[in-house]
Every structure is written in structure tokens, then in C-alpha cells.
């Protein structure tokens, strides 16, 4: 039995991966569980690829080893592809149906990636694909996509959904609590409809 449940959250600097990982950390505190996490700070945040490692019940280091993550949450399709090797074969991926083409692709004349081919390259994993932008708009703000994604992944996370929602309330700016709580529930429901496995 693995001693910790290891979640990797990936995205693009500015998409709110750190806030999403803060919610998970806060939820661990609420449930009196140990937690370790690692974040990207500094220059990499300027629109670059970013990753947050969260180890629920972790007692040692904060870094997850490739091939051993229990769950990958990706805010962008291309980032899901970049970090998929953190999952074991057939591992669990919750991904936003959203693709920002890196500016480097245009500048360097690389082949422009597209949704269909990326999804095909991920199809051997246990994938739930979520339209977070649509659900975030429904919740009241496009800025709540990170919390939609967390909600969508919540069925796979060994923390109680009530705890996670309370952690959302504690971590987001006061004026956005209701929007984000709704975003969490919408994300959770959306993944449920798509038949997410029970935790």
C-alpha cells in the first residue's frame, strides 16, 4: 500500500494551479492529515508550463516521482501530454478540454498541436475530459476554471467532498466564495455524469 496519495496538477502560469493545490493542502489540515507539496515560483510563472505536486498523507519529500502519480489534473491538453509520464500505465487523468498553443510553436514554425490528436495520444489513460470554461461561466466567472477542475477530480481524491468545499471557501478571495463553491459542485457533477470511478 502506497503511504501517500500523489496528485500532480499541471497547467500554464497564471491558470491558478497554486490555488488549486492550496485547496488540497488546506483540506488535509481540516482532516488532520499530513501533506507535502511543491510549487513553481519565479520566472517560470510568466506564461510557462507549471506544475504543483501534492502528496496527501505525505511525510517525506514533496516531489512526486514519474510513473507513480495517483492522479494527474491538467488545465491544458498539451500540458497533460507533457506530464503524462508521471502516471503509471492506464493512470487517472482529469483534463480541461482547452488548448493554448505555445507562442514558441508559431515562432519556431513547429507543427501546431490540435485537440483531437492530443486526446488520441492520451486515450490509453483513464481520462475524464471537462469543459471547464463553460462550467466556470455557468458558475459566474471564467476565473473559476481551476476550481471546476478540482471539483471534477474530487471523486478521485481521498478527501471528503465537504472538506474540499470548505477548503475552497477558505482559500479563495472572500468576494468569490459563492462563485467558486458553485464551480466546485458543477465540476464534481460534470465528472460524475461522465462516470468517474468511485474513490
Amino acid at each position: 500500500m502506497k503511504p501517500s496519495f500523489d496528485i500532480l496538477i499541471v497547467g500554464i502560469g497564471g491558470q491558478g494551479t497554486v490555488l488549486a493545490s492550496n485547496v488540497l493542502g488546506e483540506a488535509c489540515i481540516i482532516e488532520h492529515r499530513s501533506v507535502r507539496s511543491a510549487e513553481t515560483h519565479g520566472m517560470a510563472q510568466r506564461g510557462g508550463s507549471v506544475e504543483s505536486h501534492i502528496r496527501i498523507d505525505g511525510k517525506f519529500g514533496s516531489l512526486i516521482t514519474p510513473g507513480t502519480a495517483d492522479l494527474l489534473i491538467a488545465f491544458d491538453l498539451l500540458e497533460a501530454l507533457r506530464y503524462r509520464h508521471y502516471l503509471p500505465a492506464g493512470g487517472r487523468l482529469v483534463v480541461n478540454r482547452h488548448l493554448v498553443v505555445p507562442t514558441s510553436v508559431y515562432q519556431q514554425g513547429l507543427a501546431v498541436p490540435d485537440e483531437e490528436s492530443i486526446l488520441a495520444a492520451l486515450s490509453d489513460l483513464d481520462v475524464t475530459c471537462i469543459d471547464a470554461a463553460e462550467l466556470a461561466e455557468e458558475a459566474g466567472s471564467s476565473l473559476s476554471q481551476n476550481i471546476v477542475m478540482l471539483g471534477a477530480a474530487s471523486g478521485d481524491i481521498p478527501l471528503r467532498p465537504e472538506t474540499l468545499e470548505e477548503a475552497v471557501r477558505r482559500c479563495v478571495p472572500p468576494k468569490t466564495v459563492e462563485v467558486n463553491a458553485k464551480a466546485f459542485r458543477l465540476g464534481r457533477a460534470a465528472a460524475g455524469e461522465r462516470g468517474a470511478p468511485a474513490p
Binding site: V35, E39, R46, S49, F60, G61, H85, T103
Partner: protein, 589 residues
């Protein structure tokens, strides 16, 4: 006591509050910056906090506070300690009365740095105690106790976390914020504070005499600890200790080094009980050298045997591989997992609407054959635009530029430097260039803030670290007082004016300064400035690709045609670049 989910740097800052600090200074540098940012934002304990103009300045200010009996903290990144090395070396001689802790954060893998130097080498060099936490909790606990250690020995203490401590989070047990305050009082003692040769020779002797007691005390405090469990041992430190402990077999001994200097007798007693010892540490082989010095019959594995990598940061997988290599099979076999090949890279990039992009564009357009020394900041990302030829350390754009110009190289030299970096160590270089008659253009990228490290204020911002309004320095007057005759300030969003300014600079001789001034697009957005986004008229777009080379992340392409995404910040520079006139503010033709 309370358990909170804290960033390493938050735990460190909280520990300072628990330890009753009254003075904190620093210069921003990843991964150290949040410590002072948290201290200046908190309201639980009043204290004097400053962002200083550079690390040497920060160091000397905090040292003086400690000479007045206060508990003082000074923070910087590892390379900042190079700048502060002058006072560091001699402060070990003078010592302190109030507790003085120097936080110098190392960056294995150079996530956000120009090198992978090891602060523990400085501690050894200066003969000062150095604390090296292995977890976020230990970072908190060590920092809380470091001030008392400093006072016990009357010496500055170096506190050296690494990126994976500063920027890791975990459940941390924190204590109460201290309520005691000291009154600063400078008690003059020339024999201590005036380091003329006659005094300093005695101070040097006193420093050396303190060493055995320091080594012994660091063991007593439990910073250096070991457990003997077999004939094979791992000796480790920092975050690597966590990776080791996760996979260490029960019959392998463990020593964790959390403080330096290491007591040789203690270390020898441990090493002598083992046939093989593997040393696992990040950066320099500091512990390995100590182990090799005391080992008589024990075989030692580490960096010097090629078992542990010298460069980069360690990971759970590299640590497990090193153990396997040294004949210590880890309890967990990590799978071999390789990333998918040929995924398009997504490096960090200058923001949409960043003032640096248009400045680089104009600079390159006017000085096609120019040499472009640059400096440390967000604008180092101008490398992607072909606008950065050199970067070595803070302030070195102007000095490298004048050196190239005065070496006889005939191509024009145009260097770029941010406002905060200019104030940090750029000024002496400018003064030198003028004094010695260099032929060059200096572009000060003035976004009014220290952006890359998290938007800390500087003397150019108009506010101090504690939120008090200040008179922003006049960069123009500063340059003129250095002897620069031609100084022009320009709005980099006004591309025609910017190009014209570069052209006029090209026609002149001597040191010419262009100040490209526009607030950082991130701070502008935060302060409520909204500019209408731009859009492409697809009927007019010829697909020529000129805007492609501009490299703005808000410009995407479907086929040959450009489109503008919702990242657009409305700077409007692309509209001036487009030769077909196909880009305009949304809603306009």
C-alpha cells in the same frame, strides 16, 4: 501552537515573528523573496522592514541593527551573498550583540538562477555557523532558534534553505508570535567595531577560538544526528534527507547533517562503525569532504566516486539510483518513466503587453548589427527575441557593454537593464562608462517595480516595503549626474517615437541613455488600468508573418492569418508593426 498549511518561506517568516525579530531587510531573489514580502504584509508584530537597494546594503543595515542589540534578519538568494560577501567576511570578526541571521537561499538546478553555487561554502569561508533545514517544519524550527544561537556565540548565523524547502508546502506546527521588543542602543566599542589591523588580528583569533564550541553545540542541539543500524550508512542533508528516508532499508544506518561546521570527533565515531558510507547531498560535496577527511578504513561513495551527480537538484529517483549504485537497494523501486517526445516546449515568455517586447523590437530594428548585453530580470526573456547577447550577474549589462565597446569591437553596443537592477549595481558601471569614454547606448527598462521576483517596490516605485510613500528617484537626473549628456525618456507603447529615439541615439556619440518607461503590465492590471483589446481584420491580413516575429503570446495563427486572443492587454504595438494595417483596437476600422 497551531498546525497550518504553509509555504517553506511562510514558515520561516513566522518563525522570525516567534523569535521576536525587530528588523528585517533584503533584496528580492527567487527562492528567498516571500520571506520579506510576508514580514512586510503581516500585522501581528510591528517591526522595521525594508527592501534594500542591493544585498550588501541590506546586509550592512541588518548588521547595524544587530550591533544595536536587536534581533535582525537579512534575506537574499545565493548569488546575492556574492554581493554581500564583503561585509559577511568581516562581520564574522566583529560579531554581533543582537541575534543576526543571514538567509541565503540556494537554487539547485538553477530553476531561477544564473548558477548553482553553494552557500555552505561561504559559511566555511567566513567560519560562521550554517543551518541547513531538511523540511518545511525544520526550516521553521531552525529559524526560530537561530537568533538565540547567534546571540550565544555572538556571531552572525547563516540560514541556508534550498528551492525545494522555500517553495514546498506542508503541515507546519507554529508557535505564538512574540510580543517582546528590544530598544536599540549602540554601545560603542572600537576594538570590536573598528577593524583596523591592530583590532582585526585579535578578532580573527577570537573567531577561531570559538569554533570547537560551535561544532559541539550543533550536535547537542540535535541539528546533526545519527542512528546506527548496520554496517552500511547513508549520510545526507537538506531535502535529499527526505528522499533518502522514504526508501531507506531498516538495516542501513543514517546520519542527517543539519548544521555546519560538523564536529569531526562526532562524525568520525559514526563513520568508523561502518564498512561503507554513501554521502547524498545537493550542490557541493561539503559533507563528503568532511567524511573523507575522517574516514580511515571506511569506503566512501558520493559525488567523487560518480555515484551522486554534482549538478542539478536531486530527486527521489536519482537518490534511489545512487543508493542502488552504492549497494544499498532502496525499499521502493521507482519505474523508468520517460516523457513523451517532441511535445512543443512552453518556456516562460514576456507577457502580452509587456513594455520590454516593443523596446527590444525597436532596438533590434534600428541596431541590426548591434551587440546586446543584458541583465537579470524578466527582460532576460528577450533572449527568445534575439535581443540578449550576454547575461552574467546583476548590473553586468553596462559593464560588459562598456568593456566590449572599449576592447575595440566595432559593432555598436546597446545594453538593456531594468530599473531595479540599475539601482542595484548598474550605477557604478554607468559612471565608469562615462568616465572612461565608452561608446554605447544604455537602455533602462523602467517598469517602476522589481517584477520578476513578485513585484517588490524599489526606490523608483514611490512606496517603501512597509507601504510608506516615498519620492521616486529620478533616473534621468541620476544618469545626468553620472555625466551622461544625452538622456531621453520614451513611452515604449509609442512605437514610432521609440524607433525615432533609437535612431537619434544611433547618430550620437559617447554614452547615451534611453529610459523606456511604462508600468509593468501586471501591476497596471492590478491597479485597475484597462486598455481595450485589439483585433485583426482578416480581410486585410496578408499573412506576411511580421507579427509572428514580434512573439506576443496574445497573437495566434490559424493557417497564415493572425488572430488576437483574450490575452491581449491592449498595448497596441502590434497595430504599429503590421505593414498591412490589419490590426486595430476592437470596434474600430
Amino acid at each position: 501552537m497551531a498546525v497550518r498549511y504553509l509555504l517553506g518561506n511562510e514558515g520561516i517568516a513566522h518563525a522570525c515573528l516567534e523569535a521576536n525579530i525587530d528588523f528585517a531587510s533584503g533584496y528580492p531573489g527567487t527562492p528567498s523573496s516571500e520571506v520579506v514580502d510576508i514580514l512586510r504584509a503581516q500585522e501581528e508584530r510591528p517591526l522595521t522592514v525594508e527592501w534594500s537597494t542591493n544585498e550588501k546594503v541590506a546586509f550592512e543595515n541588518a548588521l547595524a541593527a544587530a550591533w544595536c542589540g536587536l534581533r535582525a534578519l537579512c534575506t537574499m538568494k545565493h548569488v546575492g551573498l556574492n554581493v554581500a560577501a564583503d561585509p559577511l567576511m568581516t562581520s564574522a570578526y566583529t560579531g554581533v550583540t543582537g541575534g543576526f541571521v543571514i538567509l541565503s537561499a540556494d537554487d539547485p538546478f538553477a530553476h531561477s538562477s544564473q548558477n548553482e553555487q553553494d552557500t555552505r561554502r561561504y559559511a566555511h569561508f567566513a567560519r560562521l555557523p550554517c543551518l541547513d533545514p531538511a523540511s518545511v517544519q525544520e526550516a521553521h524550527d531552525m529559524m526560530r532558534d537561530a537568533f538565540a544561537l547567534s546571540e550565544e556565540f555572538g556571531l552572525p548565523v547563516i540560514f541556508r534553505p534550498t528551492t525545494r524547502i522555500c517553495h514546498s508546502k506542508g503541515d507546519v506546527d507554529v508557535g505564538e508570535v512574540g510580543a517582546e521588543h528590544r530598544t536599540a542602543a549602540f554601545r560603542g566599542d572600537p576594538k570590536q567595531y573598528v577593524v583596523i589591523p591592530a583590532h582585526t588580528r585579535l578578532l580573527h583569533k577570537a573567531l577561531n577560538e570559538k569554533q570547537p564550541a560551535i561544532r559541539k553545540r550543533l550536535v547537542e542541539l540535535g541539528y546533526n544526528r545519527h542512528t546506527v543500524r548496520g554496517r552500511t550508512a547513508v549520510v545526507t542533508s537538506g531535502v535529499a534527507a527526505a528522499y533518502v528516508q522514504e526508501v531507506l532499508p531498516d538495516d542501513v544506518s543514517l546520519a542527517v547533517i543539519g548544521a555546519y561546521p560538523i564536529d569531526e570527533g562526532w562524525l568520525r565515531a559514526f563513520v568508523d562503525q561502518h564498512e561503507n558510507v554513501l554521502v547524498i547531498e545537493e550542490l557541493a560535496p561539503v559533507i563528503e569532504e568532511a567524511v573523507r577527511q575522517v574516514a580511515t578504513k571506511t569506503e566512501v561513495f558520493g559525488k567523487m566516486t560518480g555515484t551522486v551527480p554534482y549538478e542539478g537538484e536531486l530527486t527521489p529517483a536519482t537518490v534511489a539510483a545512487a543508493m542502488q549504485d552504492a549497494g544499498i537497494p532502496p525499499t521502493v523501486a521507482y519505474p523508468a518513466a520517460a516523457p513523451v517526445q517532441r511535445v512543443p516546449p512552453r518556456p516562460p515568455i514576456l507577457c502580452a503587453g509587456c513594455m520590454h517586447r516593443s523596446t527590444f523590437y525597436a532596438m533590434k530594428k534600428v541596431f541590426r548589427d548591434g551587440i546586446f548585453p543584458s541583465d537579470i530580470g524578466c527582460y532576460t526573456l528577450g533572449l527568445q527575441l534575439g535581443a540578449v547577447d550576454t547575461t552574467i550577474c546583476m548590473g553586468a549589462s553596462i559593464t560588459v557593454g562598456s568593456g566590449i565597446a572599449r576592447s575595440g569591437e566595432e559593432r555598436p553596443v546597446v545594453c538593456t537593464i531594468g530599473d531595479s537592477t540599475f539601482l542595484h549595481t548598474g550605477i557604478p558601471g554607468l559612471l565608469n562608462a562615462v568616465y572612461n569614454g565608452a561608446e554605447m547606448v544604455v537602455v533602462i527598462l523602467d517598469n517602476r517595480i522589481t517584477a520578476m521576483t513578485g513585484h517588490q517596490p524599489n526606490p523608483n516605485t514611490g512606496v517603501t516595503a512597509s507601504g510608506v510613500e516615498s519620492v521616486p528617484v529620478s533616473l534621468e537626473a541620476l544618469c545626468r549626474s553620472c555625466g551622461v549628456a544625452w538622456v531621453e525618456t520614451v513611452d515604449p507603447y509609442n512605437l514610432p517615437h521609440l524607433l525615432d529615439t533609437f535612431r537619434r541615439a544611433k547618430e550620437r556619440t559617447g554614452v547615451r541613455v534611453i529610459i523606456a518607461k511604462q508600468p509593468c503590465v501586471i501591476t497596471a492590471r492590478r491597479s485597475g488600468i484597462r486598455r481595450k483589446p485589439y483585433a485583426v481584420d482578416l480581410e486585410r491580413c496578408t499573412g506576411c508573418g511580421v507579427c509572428r516575429s514580434f512573439g506576443c503570446p496574445a497573437i495566434a495563427f490559424s493557417g497564415k492569418n493572425a488572430t488576437i486572443t483574450d490575452l491581449c492587454a491592449g498595448c497596441g504595438v502590434c497595430a504599429d508593426i503590421c505593414p498591412a494595417g490589419a490590426i486595430a483596437r476592437e470596434g474600430r476600422q
